[in-house]
């Protein structure tokens, strides 16, 4: 039974934020989803203070061994989340992690404080892959911004804080250290890699925004190298992710220093992927 930031989990496999809508999945699959819930903790899709509709289509593009997405964080906003989604997510049989994103420290603090006060919430993940409205810089690409942001939200909650790191930086370990110094209880990585594709028929970008984030097995070796580098630099636990599709893949991430792993894109292909990866990982670890 892995323990993560004081939370006991049934196995080390959780979901990557934004890759499994448990509310939609329960409508599609009914309560069988709850009886065989594939993850040991559930990370919500990222919420923001105000509602967001998300990006104009086309939003996804298949690539060799992966896909590019440009979804744009559609969500109901904090109020909508608390009223509509949180009661339903609280019915899941596993601890709930809420992912939040904001464009200023003030907004981040409001989100974290409000969400952190809810007893249904076990931990909070900070999505810092967004620009700060004041500086225009992507918070998670700047160690100084990252540390200041984590420090600000650290002051308003006692709940475990997980900082989701972007891979689109020269030195992710430097940002991880900054997050740890700011008071993060854990870091999770990688978020998607910035990527583009061109539709060979139309000659236009594969996703309407022109670029998006690459995920799937294509990114796994990159993710593994970054988890390895971060693990060498920080002492907080790490949630490793990036293209994990099997127990063997998951074992790679644990062997370089991850405490938990997250499954993302593979759930699109196999809704039960989390449970399958956990079972395969268990066999893999027993056979050593």
């Amino acid at each position: 039974m892995p323990e993560f930031c004081g939370i006991e989990l049934a196995h080390p496999v959780i979901n990557a934020s934004g890759t499994f809508d448990a509310i939609a999945a329960r409508k599609v699959y009914g309560d069988e989803l709850l009886e065989r819930f594939p993850f040991s903790a559930y990370v919500s899709k990222t919420i923001t203070l105000e509602p967001r509709a998300g990006n104009e289509p086309q939003r996804i593009w298949e690539t060799p061994a992966g896909m590019i997405n440009s979804i744009g964080l559609p969500n109901k906003g904090l109020e909508g989340f608390l009223a509509d989604d949180l009661p339903r997510l609280a019915e899941l049989p596993v601890p709930l992690v809420v992912s939040v994103m904001a464009t200023s420290r003030e907004e981040f603090s409001k989100l974290v404080q409000t969400v952190g006060e809810r007893s249904e919430v076990a931990a909070i993940e900070l999505n810092v892959s967004c620009p700060n409205v004041h500086s225009g810089l992507i918070v998670g690409e700047q160690p100084v911004e990252t540390e200041a942001t984590v420090e600000a939200v650290r002051a308003v909650t006692a709940k475990p804080l997980i900082v989701k790191l972007t891979p689109n930086v020269p030195d992710p370990a430097e940002v991880a250290v900054a997050a740890e110094q700011g008071g993060a209880d854990a870091v999770s990585l990688i978020n998607t890699l910035k990527a583009s594709a061109i539709d060979p028929v139309s000659g236009r970008p594969g996703v309407a925004a022109g670029h998006g984030g690459l995920s799937g097995p294509a990114v796994r070796p990159v993710a593994l190298a970054q988890v390895r580098a971060v693990a060498a630099a920080v002492s907080v636990p790490i949630v490793g992710m990036g293209g994990i599709a099997s127990g063997t893949d998951a074992a790679e991430f644990l062997s370089v220093g991850a405490t938990l792993v997250a499954v993302g894109t593979e759930s699109f292909r196999d809704p039960e992927a989390g449970q399958r990866v956990a079972a395969e990982l268990d066999l893999n670890l027993r056979s050593r």
Partner: protein
């Protein structure tokens, strides 16, 4: 009825050419019978990722017909090879294993006006889009709902599935090249039907290429005719997880076609 959670392996019981398309059947021992308009996410168990490491994601296919099998249900699909995923599915051989997730999505609803003098259902299909209308037509026939079928094709090559799926019933045809039926668009046939005095009591159901759907949508909205469209969008998961299959909603924001569709009312979307 909800779908079984997860994906399962189903065997191919039949696979053959149908004009320029392929027609194949799977035996699903676990799932409930699909409703007209519902779809499945499909990927072959072996040799998926076969060309330039694609296809990677499963492909969404509407079910064309279904019936009881010795164990479970038979699922019929009509498919056109247009990319790495559909081309691989066109190569399916009898006995091969396919990953199946579904039935997914919503389904068509019956006409609201079922009174004696009402115009009944008008089904409008274009090309490969005729597939989900076959199951819809049979469902309506079993309920004695008067149904007229209008189908359009670009050319003879693109009229596959017609004999398999609509052999039993009277259909009015249109073809771009005039090889069968009316020379022109299937929407010309629809416009004629909607000239009738009873048009407002009709219910139109359409599936086909976006330009056809948009013409159907506009024709119906202009005449105040109830209309449902089975739409398509790039889709990674089929069960609401990826948020890829967004289409603009008439009241702002987006619909997810996999869980809010694939069948939408003409009034729900800004364009087809």
């Amino acid at each position: 009825m909800t779908a079984p959670f997860g994906r399962r392996v189903c065997k191919v019981s039949e696979s053959r050419a149908s004009g320029g398309y392929r027609f194949f059947s799977l035996i699903d021992e676990k799932g409930p019978p699909p409703l007209p308009g519902q779809f499945y996410m499909l990927a072959t168990e072996r040799h998926w990722e076969q060309r330039d490491l694609r296809p990677f994601l499963p492909r969404a296919l509407s079910v064309a017909e279904t019936g009881p099998a010795v164990a479970g249900v038979r699922l019929d699909f009509l498919i056109e090879g247009v990319g790495p995923g559909t081309e691989r599915l066109c190569e399916l051989e009898e006995g091969e294993s396919v990953w199946v997730n579904g039935p997914l999505g919503n389904s068509f609803s019956p006409p609201r006006d079922l009174s004696a003098g009402a115009a009944g259902a008008i089904l409008v299909g274009g090309g490969i889009g005729i597939a989900p209308l076959a199951l819809l037509r049979r469902t309506f026939a079993e309920r004695n709902i008067p149904t007229r079928v209008l189908l359009g094709f670009r050319s003879e090559r693109h009229s596959g599935g017609l004999d398999e799926l609509f052999a039993c019933c009277e259909v009015r045809l249109a073809s771009d090249d005039g090889h069968r039926g009316h020379r022109g668009y299937v929407t010309d046939l629809l416009a004629n039907l909607l000239e009738g005095d009873d048009a407002r009591s009709a219910a139109v159901y359409a599936c086909g290429p976006p330009a056809m759907l948009e013409t159907v949508r506009t024709l119906c909205l202009e005449r105040g005719v109830a209309c449902e469209l089975a739409m398509e969008a790039p889709m990674a998961c089929g069960y609401g997880a990826c948020f890829g299959c967004a289409v603009p909603a008439a009241d702002g924001g987006y619909l997810r076609l996999c869980v809010d569709g694939p069948v939408v009312r003409a009034t729900q979307v800004t364009h087809a």
